[in-house]
């Protein structure tokens, strides 16, 4: 299914440069170009390409709930739950059997009247923090959540220290003295009023 969508997407993408070429300025006579440039066709083909490039869906039609509002909630919950088999996909994205079973389970819990939180808690009770794509902040996950901020603070501190040191170096460093030869050359350059003579 995914390969099929991808090949469609490739084909849809390939048609765009051709369309461009047809009305590129300077390629045909203006009258001919004007007759070929149809904004509606261009918009339609863009929309078609955009439609064809939607992500492939793992959710099968027979899993879907009749009630669109409830189905939307199920999708929302499924995106929060990690597939235990593929581990880097949500159960909404995964084609694994267990992901399918969990999608069906999520929908059953919703139909039974659970809130979104209750459904997630139900799955969490069985599979632990790992099943949540947005893990809760606990002692165990503190480094995961806080790590980036700690790194940012360290980098900021390091940068500030470096900048301060550099400014101090510039302020306190004595200006280097010129050699006799350089003095002569500098004087010659300063007295040189003939433009274009770059010696």
């Amino acid at each position: 299914m995914r390969a099929f969508t991808r090949s469609l997407r490739r084909r849809a993408g390939a048609s765009v440069p051709l369309a461009y070429g047809a009305w590129a300025p300077g390629r045909q006579s203006p009258a001919y170009a004007a007759s070929r440039f149809r904004p509606s066709a261009w918009i339609a083909s863009t929309l078609l390409a955009a439609f064809l490039s939607l992500p492939a869906l793992a959710v099968l039609p027979n899993e879907k709930l009749a009630d669109p509002a409830m189905e939307a909630r199920a999708r929302e919950i499924s995106k929060e739950l990690r597939c235990l088999v593929c581990q880097n996909q949500s159960i909404d994205d995964s084609n694994a059997d267990l992901a399918r079973d969990l999608r069906v389970l999520v929908r059953e819990r919703l139909v039974a009247g659970d809130s979104n939180e209750q459904v997630i808690a139900y799955v969490h009770d069985r599979y632990g923090d790992f099943v949540l794509l947005r893990p809760p902040v606990t002692g165990y996950t503190a480094l995961l959540w806080g790590g980036p901020f700690v790194l940012l603070a360290l980098a900021g501190f390091g940068t500030a220290l470096y900048m301060r040191q550099r400014r101090r170096d510039v302020e306190t460093m004595p200006a280097p003295t010129l050699t006799a030869e350089e003095e002569v050359r500098l004087a010659a350059l300063l007295n040189d009023d003939k433009p274009g003579d770059g010696r």
Binding site: L84, V85, Q87, D101, L105, D125, R126, Y127, F130
Partner: protein
């Protein structure tokens, strides 16, 4: 500290970063990210009642898991690693006298029967979990899985993947002995 010494120390920074990252990755190599902790450890096994493989045959329920230390093995005939660990389960049951129950996960009863006829049946009782719901209650995410259940019916240990001889020698059997005291 003079400016020169400070710059010399700065040269050691990449080495320090390397050592920290190296240590971190070395630790990571010793861990298997596909092995997840079970939520059931030290908690009672979920309540369930599964039918047997064929009609009239005794199934498996959580009531069967009380009274003595026993194993629950989740298996399926379509699962290749299950075949790998099966001879070990046979030996555990025959030679060590360990009680092993089975949850037959999303399997055809005929195929499961054929599997047991071919490989031997180490199981005291088998529950057929056709839709995999009881397995979800156990937090199963891949077959085979093996659980150690204590006398009070609590889950004490979970092993994911096929059991290997050293798993049995070093973990399962010592644990059964300890819990049976």
């Amino acid at each position: 500290m003079s400016a020169v010494t400070r710059h010399r120390l700065l040269l050691l920074l990449p080495l320090a970063v390397f050592l920290i990252l190296g240590g971190y990755f070395a630790l990571g190599l010793t861990r298997d990210p596909s092995k997840l902790p079970s939520m059931l450890i030290d908690k009672p096994a979920p309540s369930f009642a599964l039918p047997g493989l064929s009609e009239g045959e005794k199934g498996l329920s959580n009531a069967d898991l009380l009274g003595k230390v026993q194993l629950v093995n989740v298996f399926a005939s379509w699962c290749a690693p299950c075949r790998v660990e099966h001879p070990l389960l046979m030996r555990l049951a025959k030679e060590q006298g360990v009680t092993i129950h089975a949850i037959n996960y999303k399997d055809k009863p005929d195929a499961a029967q054929a599997f047991l006829a071919q490989m031997g049946n180490p199981y005291t009782s088998i529950g057929a979990d056709k839709d995999g719901r009881v397995a979800i209650d156990f937090g199963v995410y891949g077959v085979p899985e093996t659980y150690v259940i204590d006398k009070q019916g609590r889950v004490r240990y979970r092993h994911v993947g096929p059991l290997m001889p050293f798993d049995v020698e070093e973990t399962i059997l010592p644990m059964i002995r300890e819990l049976s005291k």
